[in-house]
Amino acid sequence: MGEAQVQDKAEAAAEQPAWLDFVEQTIAALRARFGQEAIEESRFRDNVRVIVPATKVYEVLAFLKNERGFDFLVDITAVDYLHYPNARDRFAVIWSLMRTDNGARLFVKTFLNEPDLTVPTVFDLWKAADWLEREVYDMFGIRFAGHPNLKRILLPEEFSAYPLRKDYPLRGRGERHNFRRLTREQS
């Protein structure tokens, strides 16, 4: 399907939902507050992303919660861009936000590079961040400064790698074989 067809179809399907206007106003408010160059926007249909520097991400998220009413932290996730074509940065952390009274959705994204894989915790803004941040830490090794209990959540605590990093082999480094063997005689 060509670009023009996609656009025609999207236009024919429906008008822009009301919450998208709210999201656009939110981005304007973010730019008024943090400066034009600090807030980069990208968009696909009703999927709106703002890309902010890691140093400002906590203030942006606090602003979105306290001033713009994004009361629901849907998810925190991360991406490893190792070997990704034309990628400039190694990791991205993504916060997925929602405002429950009008259904507005917004994604906040920031890029990180080694060796400083630390972003501030948002546990004090949304309690839901507790386990979400632990999961990102568990899988990617990204640290959330100020988290009250930042330890592994899914993998065993003695696990030594971050398995969703692209330089970690799919079959692991022997972790699945590292157990004692029970025989009939012993058991």
Partner: protein, 186 residues
């Protein structure tokens, strides 16, 4: 007349065989169900397939009250120590069925977290292929295990291992080599 009835209603057997006969028709399964095989395991226990026809309907969720562990589903590396502990908690004599592709070989989950077959770390008596196996296949496995128990079980559960060592047959799922010295009688 009375004497004649008495003679017709008595048969002689060996204690081992009588014990095995009792044992094979009263498996107490411990369902270690972690994935879709667990659903088929439940279907096997439900009325349509009715595992009670084979005397194995008393599912116990405490390993201390069970003698047949049915591992139904994939086992991840974090779960494996739990599985081994449950196996150790089961009293002798005990048996293990590895149900489905995942429990037997890891299945399609060839990843860092999934154990590639529980028989690497536990003794397994019967493997059931399938993804997931149908209830008929699990029932077949139980019938096969019944035959195995009648043939190899003894009053003391460990005896079957000694017999296998004597005959030089490979021990399914265990690392013992044929012909090794017999374990001390207890």
């Amino acid at each position: 007349m009375a004497q004649h009835d008495w003679l017709e209603n008595v048969f002689l057997t060996r204690l081992n065989e009588a014990a095995n006969w009792c044992r094979k028709y009263s498996f107490w399964p411990m369902p270690f169900a972690t994935a879709c095989c667990g659903i088929e395991l439940m279907a096997t226990a439900a009325s349509r397939h009715d595992i009670a026809r084979f005397g194995a309907e008393v599912f116990r969720f405490s390993p201390r009250q069970a003698d047949l562990m049915i591992v139904a589903g994939r086992v991840v590396m974090k779960m494996l120590p739990v599985l081994q502990r449950i196996w150790l908690q089961m009293p002798e004599p005990k048996w293990c069925i590895s149900m489905g592709a995942c429990a037997s070989s890891g299945g399609v989950f060839d990843t860092y977290a999934v154990v590639q077959g529980i028989d690497r770390f536990l003794p397994v008596d019967i493997y059931v292929p399938g993804c997931p196996p149908r209830p008929e296949q699990l029932i077949r496995a139980i019938i096969d295990l019944q035959e195995m128990v009648q043939r190899e079980g003894r009053v003391r559960g460990l005896e079957r291992l000694r017999q296998r060592a004597r005959t030089g047959l490979p021990v399914l799922g265990a690392s013992e080599q044929p012909g090794r010295p017999e374990p001390q009688r207890n």
